[in-house]
Assembly symmetry: C2
Homo-oligomer: 350 residues x 2
């Protein structure tokens, strides 16, 4: 684990809270003209430049959302930012600023905090986002990271969950279930290590491990859709699993939804690993979550514009509300889609 390896160990208390804030601030540069004032005052100041603002926030807790036994701090910092940016893109907006609040216990040396911020700032660079503020405090137990992301969009460009119409196509970007299978690999190797002390065997699982440890937000899809001249009628990002998100779109739009099992895009690596774990790949894709792909609806008339794009898959369509939210299997059988609830991530019902 990063916190105990490595040659240098500087106690956080030697820096103090102000010293830590200055250390972070010294590494941050503001790029957006919209970021008028960053770290160092009671609040950050943003010039909306005539745009609407979108605001989203996500909190990650050690022991619930991540296990520092196998998640490198740099990846954790990166992911904590990306999951929020994903929400901004899901509004069809451009993320511009983030704030990061951290609670740290004394077991984290300064070097560990540096590593965490390396990931946070890498995500900022990759997505063109400014770190403009936050809070640092001590924790009596685990690490807590709370990120708020702020984005900008023209009012008329914003896409809500509730805008889908009957008969519109349901489209998903990328492929699903990979992040969940990556987690299964990590959990298995952790259990093996605990029992036998054997070093983790992660070979051959690069793709699904990256899906779990270093997910990306689909900025490229938002840009692609703009280029194609397609404005989704509704959109959501897939953090809790396809089933749950499809139900959100349906409910908010006052509709039903129909997803075709065979259409759900699943990477061969995900498929194989699911089989190795005696899991149904479709169930992993439906309920696994954390894929951070975009799920959206488009008018039938827009189909020709997205057709054939390897990054976009039509997996179903919207129906009237009385038809419910259903999965159609390859034999034409109907199954009710079920949303995952509390602690979905820890205890999937699948």
């Amino acid at each position: 684990m990063t916190m105990t390896d490595g040659p240098s160990h500087t106690a956080l208390s030697t820096l103090g809270e102000f010293g830590l804030i200055e250390r972070i601030a010294s590494r941050v540069q503001l790029h957006h003209k919209a970021s008028v004032k960053g770290i160092g005052d009671d609040a950050a100041v943003i010039d909306p430049q005539g745009m609407h603002q979108v605001v989203t926030t996500d909190m990650l807790l050690e022991g619930v959302h991540f296990d520092l036994g196998y998640v490198p701090l740099k990846h954790l910092g990166y992911k904590a930012v990306v999951v929020n940016l994903s929400d901004v893109y899901a509004m069809n907006a451009e993320p511009r600023q983030i704030t990061v609040s951290l609670a740290l216990s004394n077991r984290f040396p300064v070097e560990a905090v540096d590593e965490l911020y390396e990931g946070i700032l890498l995500a900022c660079r990759n997505y063109g986002v400014d770190l403009v503020g936050g809070d640092t405090c001590s924790s009596t137990s685990g690490l807590v990271i709370s990120v708020t992301a702020i984005g900008a969009a023209r009012k008329e460009d914003i896409v809500y969950r509730g805008g889908a119409k009957d008969n519109e196509l349901l489209v998903v970007s990328g492929d699903l279930g990979g992040a969940y299978m990556g987690l299964q690999i990590l959990e298995r190797e952790k259990a093996v290590f605990k029992e036998t002390g054997a070093q983790p065997d992660l070979a051959g699982h690069d793709y699904i491990l990256e899906r779990q440890l270093k997910p990306e937000a689909r900025r490229d899809i938002i840009e692609l859709l703009k280029k194609l001249g397609v404005k989704p009628t509704s959109m959501i990002d897939i953090s809790d699993g396809l089933a749950s998100e499809a139900i959100h779109i349906a409910r908010r739009s006052g509709l039903g939804v129909r997803i075709y099992d065979e259409k759900i895009p699943i990477d061969p690596a995900t498929h194989q690993t699911a089989r190795d774990f005696h899991l149904d790949p479709t169930t992993c894709a439906l309920n696994g979550g954390e894929d951070y792909e975009l799920l959206f609806t488009i008018a039938q008339s827009d189909f020709d514009r997205i057709k054939g794009n390897p990054d976009l898959t039509v997996i179903g369509h919207m129906t009237d509300v009385n038809s419910g939210c259903v999965l159609i299997d390859k034999h034409g059988g109907q199954h009710a889609l079920r949303a995952q609830g509390w602690d979905a991530f820890l205890a999937p019902t699948s």
Copy 2:
């Protein structure tokens, strides 16, 4: 403690995460036209209406920032909001929206969460702020609350920490040290209860207990200054203690600061309690923190406009940077002001 008293106990798991979010959303009404979309999408949407936006965030952890042994959940919810609004006012901005992220363990029944939100929504009503989003997740141990507040101000009205000029007057609102003394009372009674089982004796300490448990943000001062036609040249809210905040203003403004011991406003109840605890009242006011008063500088020429106002006290003035940050005692002796650092709240050096 609220979590175990009372007749009704509904496990959070019976609601599920979605149920909990719907329960919260059903109690929330949006009042600002600027709040275009609240809870229920990937992000909230705000119409800045031509204003600049300010953003601030604070995280509170059980066992670090609060002790549920003596902090009622309703008060905790109220305070978690107020400390953020205080930061918005300190920018001379008007708070308009908040997001609230909560991490909860299973020991909290639904009724406890309701009580927490009662306090959160009371603060929203009292300050005219909309709850527009957040995150709820499970915690393996304590309660974590992370609030982000968003405010609006005309660009030319925003007040930073770094705008003070040499010779300007340093002014503080209200009185200081009360919140810290309230905490001492609560800690003492908790220790007595642990040792002897005696019920807490809080009689006669209403003022300082309220300062600790249910602080208010000084919206009235911001409105008063506008009415008086006084725009502070720099401003900060007092969360970490007068000394620390005065040093922030001085450093950011490239100046020194001189505070006169005798001028620091201390309520008689605070004074008496400090004496009872064998503490120096001035030290409590300088380093106690959590008073959420406003500390600001004004031009000498504005003195006549604030003079005689019982809510505003001139406690010193800015100096050139070489004069440093000093406290002048009643005998004219100079003492270096010292900022509190990491864990200031838990282990005050005073």
